[in-house]
C-alpha cells in the first residue's frame, strides 16, 4: 500500500511538472507569435503521432504490467490470508477436540487414549506451522503449554492406574485444575490467532478493492488517451483535410494553416499540401498562359484579316480622296472623311479587343453581367465565325442577375467553347449560344451548342483531361477545356457537357449569381482551416 502511495505521489509530481513545462511553452509560443508572425514552426514543439503511438504503447505495457503485478500481489496476499484463516480454524477445531476428549476423560466417560491422540494431532499441526503462528502472536509459550498439557495427561493416566485414595484424588484435582488452566490458555491462543488472521484477511481484501478501483481508473485515463489520439489527433485532422480538399475542389482559395500547439505528421501533411497547392497554382498559371497563347495565335490570324479590312478601306478612301479632291463636291468629301474616321475606329476596337484578351493580369473578381461577357466574347470570335462561314445564334434571357467573376477569364472560357464549337461546325452551319437563368435558383447558365458530330462515348470522360485533344497535332493543345473547367470551378460554378451522336454537343456553364459580394468573402473566411 505504501509502495503504491509513493508511486502515486511521484506520478502526480511528474504530471504537474510536465503540465507546467507545457504551459510555459505555450505562453512562450504565444508571446513569440505576437512578436513575429509567420514562421511558427521553429518554435512549436514537435509531438508526432508516431511518438504518440509509441507513448500509448509504452504506457499500455507499463500500465498492464503494473495492474497485473498489483493484482498478483493482492491475490497472493489473500491466498496467504485464506491459508491462515484455515489454519486458525484447524487450530480451534483440533484444540477443541483435544479439550473435549480431555474433559470427557476427566469426567470418567472416556478412555484417556483418545484424548492423548487428539492432543498429539494438535501438537503435530502446531509444530508444522510453528512459524506461521509466530507471525501473529508470541508462540514461544504455546509449545511448552502443549507439552505441559501432554505431560499432565500422562500424569493423569499414571494416577488412574493406582487405586483411588485421598492422595490420588487430591493429585487428580490438582492436575485437572492445571489442565483447565492450560486448555483455557490454548483456546485463547486460538481465538487470538483467528481474530488476527481475520483482520489481515479483511485488510488485504480492502487492498484488493483499492487496486481494482485504481486499475479501472487508470484504464479509463488510458482510454481517454487513445481516444484523444484517434479522434482528436487523427480523425478530426483528417476530416479537416477532407473539408479543405472539398473547399479547394469548389475552387475556393483557402490558406492552409499548419500551425498547431505541437507539430506532427499532419502539420507536415498540411505544409506539403500547401506546397502542392502553390505548385499546382503555378502550373495552372503556366497552362492557362500557354492556352491563352494558343488562343491568341488562333485569334491573330483572324485579327490580321479583320484589321486588314479597315486599313484597306482607309487606304482606298484616302487615295481616292487625294486623287479626286478637286472634282468631288463637299458632301462626297465629308462622306469620305467620315468613312476614314469610322474605319480607324473599327481598327482601334479590334486592336483593343486583342490586347484586352492577351493582357497579363491578376484575376479581378467583380460583379459583372454575364450577357455582356458573352456578347463581348462573341464579338471577339466574330471574325473567326465569319471566316468559317458559321452563324452564331445568341439568345439572352431578359433581366439576368449579375455574377461575381473575372471578366477576362470568363471571356477566355466562352471563347474557348465557341472556338471548339466552331471547329466541329461545317461551313454554312450554325452554333447556338443561350444565356438564361439556371434550373437551380441563384445560378445563371450559358449554353454553347453546336450541331456537329457529337463526342463519342469512349472519349467523353476524357475531354476535361489536360492535354487531351482530338484535334490534329499543332491545332490544339488539349488544355482549353481543362483550363476552362479550372476557371469555372474557381468561380464556384460547374461546366458540364451533353452530347448526341450526329446531333451535336452542348456545353453548359453554370455560374452562381452574386447577391452581396461580401457574402462570398465571408464564406471564404469561414472555410479557413487551422491545422
Amino acid at each position: 500500500m505504501m509502495l503504491f502511495q509513493n508511486c502515486l505521489d511521484k506520478w502526480y509530481n511528474c504530471a504537474l511538472k510536465r503540465l507546467k513545462t507545457l504551459l510555459d511553452k505555450k505562453i512562450e509560443k504565444i508571446e513569440s507569435q505576437n512578436n513575429l508572425t509567420g514562421d511558427g514552426t521553429s518554435i512549436t514543439q514537435r509531438f508526432t503521432v508516431r511518438s504518440h503511438i509509441y507513448m500509448v504503447f509504452v504506457i499500455s505495457v507499463i500500465l498492464s504490467c503494473a495492474i497485473t503485478a498489483a493484482l498478483g500481489v493482492t491475490v497472493y496476499l489473500i491466498t496467504r490470508d485464506m491459508k491462515y484463516v484455515n489454519l486458525a480454524n484447524t487450530y480451534i477445531l483440533l484444540s477443541n477436540k483435544a479439550m473435549f476428549h480431555e474433559r470427557n476423560f476427566v469426567a470418567g466417560w472416556e478412555d484417556i487414549k483418545e484424548s492423548k491422540e487428539s492432543i498429539k494431532a494438535f501438537e503435530m499441526v502446531v509444530f508444522e506451522r510453528y512459524n506461521d503462528f509466530g507471525n501473529f502472536f508470541d508462540n514461544s509459550r504455546l509449545i511448552s503449554n502443549i507439552e505441559k498439557y501432554g505431560r499432565l495427561l500422562d500424569d493423569l493416566t499414571e494416577i488412574n492406574t493406582f487405586p483411588p485414595s485421598e492422595q490420588t484424588n487430591a493429585k487428580v484435582v490438582k492436575i485437572r485444575n492445571e489442565l483447565h488452566q492450560l486448555s483455557d490458555e490454548i483456546s485463547n491462543y486460538g481465538k487470538l490467532f483467528s481474530e488476527r488472521t481475520g483482520h489481515t484477511m479483511r485488510k488485504d481484501m480492502f487492498l484488493f478493492k483499492i487496486v481494482f478501483v485504481l486499475a479501472t481508473f487508470f484504464l479509463f485515463l488510458f482510454m481517454l488517451f487513445i481516444v484523444h489520439l484517434l479522434i482528436y489527433r487523427v480523425l478530426r485532422t483528417m476530416s479537416r483535410i477532407v473539408q479543405y480538399a472539398k473547399h479547394l475542389s469548389t475552387g475556393q482559395q483557402i490558406k492552409f494553416m499548419p500551425g498547431k500547439v505541437y507539430q506532427d505528421e499532419f502539420s507536415d501533411l498540411a505544409s506539403a499540401l500547401e506546397q502542392m497547392m502553390k505548385e499546382f497554382d503555378r502550373q495552372q498559371n503556366i497552362i492557362s498562359q500557354s492556352h491563352k497563347l494558343r488562343a491568341v495565335g488562333t485569334l491573330t490570324a483572324g485579327v490580321a484579316h479583320e484589321l486588314n479590312n479597315p486599313i484597306n478601306n482607309i487606304t482606298l478612301t484616302a487615295h481616292m480622296l487625294l486623287e479626286d479632291y478637286h472634282d468631288l463636291d463637299e458632301d462626297e468629301r465629308l462622306d469620305m472623311i467620315k468613312d476614314l474616321i469610322d474605319e480607324a475606329d473599327r481598327s482601334r476596337t479590334i486592336v483593343r479587343n486583342l490586347l484586352d484578351f492577351a493582357r497579363e493580369s491578376e484575376s479581378i473578381m467583380e460583379p459583372i453581367g454575364i450577357s455582356d461577357v458573352v456578347t463581348e466574347t462573341l464579338k471577339l470570335a466574330g471574325n473567326q465565325l465569319k471566316l468559317n462561314g458559321v452563324h452564331a445564334d445568341l439568345t439572352i434571357a431578359p433581366n439576368l442577375p449579375r455574377i461575381h467573376g473575372d471578366r477576362q477569364q470568363l471571356e477566355q472560357v466562352f471563347l474557348n467553347l465557341i472556338l471548339n464549337a466552331l471547329d466541329v461546325t461545317l461551313k454554312g452551319g450554325q452554333i447556338r449560344i443561350d444565356v438564361e437563368r439556371g434550373d437551380e435558383p441563384n445560378f445563371v447558365v450559358v449554353k454553347v451548342a453546336d450541331f456537329g458530330n457529337g463526342i463519342p462515348d469512349h472519349i467523353l470522360h476524357h475531354i476535361f483531361d489536360p492535354f487531351f485533344t482530338t484535334k490534329s497535332k499543332g491545332k490544339g493543345t488539349g488544355l482549353g477545356l481543362s483550363v476552362s473547367q479550372g476557371i469555372i470551378a474557381k468561380h464556384g460554378g460547374q461546366i458540364t457537357v451533353s452530347t448526341k451522336q450526329k446531333r451535336g454537343t452542348t456545353f453548359t456553364v453554370k455560374l452562381p449569381i452574386t447577391t452581396i459580394p461580401a457574402d462570398i468573402g465571408g464564406n471564404m473566411e469561414s472555410a479557413h482551416g487551422a491545422f
Binding site: N313, T315, L316, T317, H319, M336, G389
Partner: protein, 134 residues
C-alpha cells in the same frame, strides 16, 4: 470602240466597292459592284465580264467558289483575287485554279488598276481603256 471593258467587283466590305467603282470608271471600265457573293454569282451567270475582282474570305460563298464559277462558264474572263489575309496556301490554290492575279489587302487603287490594265493587255482590249496609269 467595241463597247466597254466590263468589270465585276465583289467584296463584302461596302467601302471597297464604293471607292473602287469611281477609280475604275476613270480607267474607262464599266463596273458592277456587289457585296453579296450570291447576287454576284447570279449576275455572273447572266453575263460574261472581262475581269472579275473578288475578295477571297467572305461569308456563305468564298472567292474560290466565285473563281470556279467563272472558270466553268467563261475561259476569257480574268479573275483577280483580293484577300485581307495573304496566305501562300490560298494564293497557290487560287492561281492553280486559274486566277489571273492576286492582290493582298491593304492595296492602293493604282495597284488594282495596274493589274486590270495587265489583264486588258492579255485580253487585247487595251484600246478600251484610257491608259492614264503609268
Amino acid at each position: 470602240m467595241g463597247g466597254e471593258f466590263e468589270v465585276l467587283l465583289l467584296d463584302d466590305e461596302p467601302i471597297v466597292g464604293k471607292r473602287l467603282k469611281p477609280a475604275l470608271e476613270k480607267l474607262g471600265c464599266e463596273v458592277d459592284v456587289f457585296t453579296d457573293p450570291k447576287e454576284a454569282l447570279k449576275r455572273l451567270s447572266e453575263k460574261n465580264f472581262d475581269v472579275v475582282v473578288t475578295d477571297i474570305r467572305m461569308e456563305d460563298v468564298d472567292g474560290l467558289d466565285v473563281l470556279e464559277a467563272v472558270m466553268s462558264k467563261s475561259t476569257t474572263t480574268k479573275v483577280i483575287m483580293i484577300t485581307g489575309y495573304a496566305m501562300m496556301e490560298l494564293a497557290q490554290q487560287a492561281l492553280s485554279k486559274g486566277a489571273f492575279d492576286f492582290i493582298a489587302k491593304p492595296f492602293k487603287p493604282d495597284d488594282l488598276r495596274s493589274v486590270i490594265i495587265k489583264a486588258a493587255e492579255v485580253l487585247g482590249k487595251t484600246d478600251m481603256l484610257k491608259c492614264a496609269v503609268k
